[in-house]
Symmetry: C2
Subunit: 333 residues, 2 copies
DNA sequence: CTGTTAGCGCTTTCAT
DNA sequence: ATGAAAGCGCTAACAG
């Protein structure tokens, strides 16, 4: 691997000059620039980003923490963030926290140790305290899908409670009164918020919430199947099912079909997230749009603006509103 | 940010000693180790990975190139690779090439510039020549899902031709004679190999391949819908449909249902990949297992063994065999 | 077992 | 416009 030193020798100039043409900031005469560029080309020179980072204290990379590397939701998030950042010459270093406090912590420390210029975190397990500390530290941090008190300027969230409300309200408006609910793991804020919204909608409509009408899942497809089975047993009168995310809705749909239910004729289903595949299910899933794409984009723009002084093309906003996406799984009773 | 120098001062020892306790390789007396550890703790010291890398010429990170950051296939791959590597204390730096020669090239150069200790590439657009050069260079490289001549030891592939053959053979064995085919983009080797397998199975059964029986898609769900529409128009007699991947199969299923077909009573469908969600479709998709999980695992183990001298727990193999996963979308005629 | 001392490859003043 | 030189924070001989 050729180094800057060899380039400078081949070009007959100093290290500093080579560095200048690489970075294009200081002025260099046409002639020397040409000499240097030729030397770089003929040596196949490739700057060592590690050395550049150490010397400049800039890595041009931002760390992204997600919970998992698979799944539509995180796929969308990673894709979006990468796209915006790459367009602006920045790189993304992705790590997974697996919704485990220790592993999230380690992942964040890893990103810090790589001296990322900023952090975009979808952190679910780590404490508020830790996040606050992080923000107070010397590295810019934004948090996605989690509201931390006193950190509003760094948080990008969707109103999950409202989303849960809208989902159930949609079912109620379609005439349903016995509504099953498959929630996410309730230790997660988004899951419990969505459930709160569900209860609010019920209450508003004068429907009493029954414990047996609900099943706590883990946001995975298999939990949808389990939930479906559970509800058939303990709350057989339900005519509509609201699920706290699309994966579980998909699992529930499969289980329902296997149990012989026609959807939506005999059972209505509403999801949450509006993940890409939801429109490819059959019937197409009625769901709540979770603007994860917009949030990821916004987080990336925030970083560009605050860290790299690149003006965001859109105004920075922190609260995103969910909305009902009407498709084919919610039928009128 | 505390540096190693401050730690050494606080502990009253030299830089070298601090470095030693960090790396735990050379022997250090219990007492000094304790002093150093205390100093590190009280200063909240965190090693600068950038500086470590520069000095040691080791980054403990391996670069992973995928085509996209979303989608089940790449999600599986990323997850698997990360898991194996992380278990062994190595980190993964993920980049996306978007099946574009220039972008793949840039992504690889980025990984090289970050001085990854090794590269795991799912490269689709870059030339064989370039890959050979890379392997001959000074950085260990493995290639996933692509066979490059003279590079067999660095390639991990599934037999796509055989997979295509098996898919169509399964349909034939179920009594189908008029079989539609939705292929991937044929400039991709895996797509054209699968199509070759399809044709071989047809030929073997004495069925003539008709141009109108096939639609070239792009591996995305929407292409499944388009393909379905196309075939209904130009090859209406088909009773079975083989798709070159599960996403397109899913799209085709949706389109078929909308067109009023019962699956598999009126139309059988076979996919390819056995991506996670394929078992959550309704009916559950009959498909060909593409051992992407196994390949990713193997690639990671190869790297551990060849780069980090960590012995692989399983023998390294390069060719993976596809197999039929019988579920519910293939019916007997 | 511990300290001294060169670098790793680059950026960035400060001169010229 | 260009060069000299001092680091960035750490590792790795080499001494002792």
């Amino acid at each position: 691997m050729a180094t800057i030193y060899q380039v400078s020798e081949a070009a007959g100039v100093s290290l500093a000059t080579v560095s200048r043409v690489m970075n294009g900031n200081a002025r260099v005469s046409e002639r020397t620039r040409k000499k240097v560029e030729d030397a770089m080309a003929s040596l196949g020179y490739q700057p060592n980003a590690i050395a550049q980072s150490l010397a400049s204290n800039r890595t041009n990379s931002v760390g992204l923490l997600v919970s998992e590397l698979h799944g539509s939701y995180f796929g969308d998030l990673m894709s979006t963030v990468e796209q915006v950042l790459k367009q602006n010459g920045k790189h993304v270093i992705i790590t997974a926290g697996h919704v485990d406090e220790k592993r999230e912590h380690e992942a964040i420390e890893f990103l810090k140790s790589r001296r990322c210029d900023a952090l975009i975190l979808h952190a679910e397990a780590v404490s508020d305290e830790y996040l606050k500390q992080l923000v107070d530290g010397n590295i810019p941090v934004v948090v996605i899908n989690r509201k931390v008190d006193d950190l509003n300027d760094n948080c990008f969230v969707v109103d999950n409670e409202q989303g849960g409300y809208l989902a159930t309200q949609a079912a109620i408006n379609a005439g349903h009164k016995n509504i099953g609910y498959i929630s996410g793991p309730l230790f997660k804020k988004d899951a419990s918020d969505r459930l709160s919204g569900h209860k609010r909608a019920l209450e508003e409509a004068g429907i009493k919430f029954e414990e047996t009408s609900m099943f706590e899942g883990d946001f995975h497809e298999s939990a949808g199947q389990e939930g479906m089975l559970h509800l058939q047993k303990h709350y057989p009168k339900f005519t509509a099912l609201v699920c706290a995310n699309d994966e579980m809705a998909s699992g529930a749909m499969t289980a329902a079909r296997e149990a012989g239910f026609d959807i939506p004729e005999q059972l209505s289903i509403v999801g949450f997230d509006n993940v890409l595949f939801s429109r490819y299910l059959y019937p197409k899933l009625t769901t709540i749009n979770n603007p994860i794409h917009a949030m990821g984009e916004m987080a990336a723009y925030w970083v560009l603006q605050h860290v790299y002084n690149i003006k965001s093309p859109i105004p920075i906003e922190h609260l995103f509103v969910p909305e009902v996406i009407n498709r084919d799984t919610l039928g009128n009773l």
